[in-house]
Symmetry: C2
Subunit: 155 residues, 2 copies
Amino acid sequence: VTNKDNCHNWTHVFERIGARITGPRCDILEMLDKAERPLSAHQIYSELHARNPKVGLATVYRTLSLLTEAEIVERLEFGDGRARYELAEHVTQEEHHHHLVCERCFRVVKYSEFPQEERDLVRKVAGSLEAKFGFTVERHQMHFYGLCPECRQRA
Amino acid sequence: VTNKDNCHNWTHVFERIGARITGPRCDILEMLDKAERPLSAHQIYSELHARNPKVGLATVYRTLSLLTEAEIVERLEFGDGRARYELAEHVTQEEHHHHLVCERCFRVVKYSEFPQEERDLVRKVAGSLEAKFGFTVERHQMHFYGLCPECRQRA
DNA sequence: CTACTTGCAAATATTTTGCATGCCA
DNA sequence: TGGCATGCAAAATATTTGCAAGTAG
């Protein structure tokens, strides 16, 4: 009883990577697209499974893995042992952003501050790293860690 | 049969945090201090256990946890599911640095490029985040990901 | 139809914890 | 000596995989 209601926007994504278009896959992309912060596999599974108890956790992991390989999804780790996932920027067409993380409760906020300055610096650093270490630089992440207002108050 | 040969440099570190000075603890700090890249718990355990089979993996994890809480060690995650650890900068008194990671083999290289420009940008971003989100920003990480020369050749 | 997907359960991998023993201060 | 630290084994998490059954194309 796979429900493909959410597939309209995503058919071309799966076609491009030669993967089949299924209900759970579209649901996952839809959730990631609507989310205001990166989601863990468990968060995605909980919601999907609540809507349709037939959905299994393994499918969530396999789908996230598939989409991460295809660079449709980006996998992030913030230090609490569970990976989070969000849509790649070329998919959302949103502004380039990074994350601010509370090191106590691991709440995550997206931000985009001084994008031009960042671009300039990143370009310089990436060039320098390629020259010095022979790496082909593909992407970067900048995480800021601190205490959110709630956790600071409790501390 | 605890061997405290490696404790000379580290007594004050443990005294400051009110923790006992033991062989395994000093060995771990010594390893981190000598390492040129962040080490995983398993890497540390392997070497220590080879030198002294009495050392257990739990001690490694408990020590890393203790030292991370005390901000003597920094915990890092690069996306392969195993955390890495390195000495905090105020302990090594080395230059502020970040990491370049091969997304295929997860080799990690430390770098420090354009430190002044980075400081300027980070200060601006941190201030902006504190004002906008009410977080108290404590630290940041910048990870560059790409392919190392070896993995690029193989691909 | 046929191969790709899925669900379930079992297997891995990493990290944490309980408890009896050991050892630092 | 007293309480923190350790080792071992068992537990808790997170993630991956084998396999039989389901379904997209």
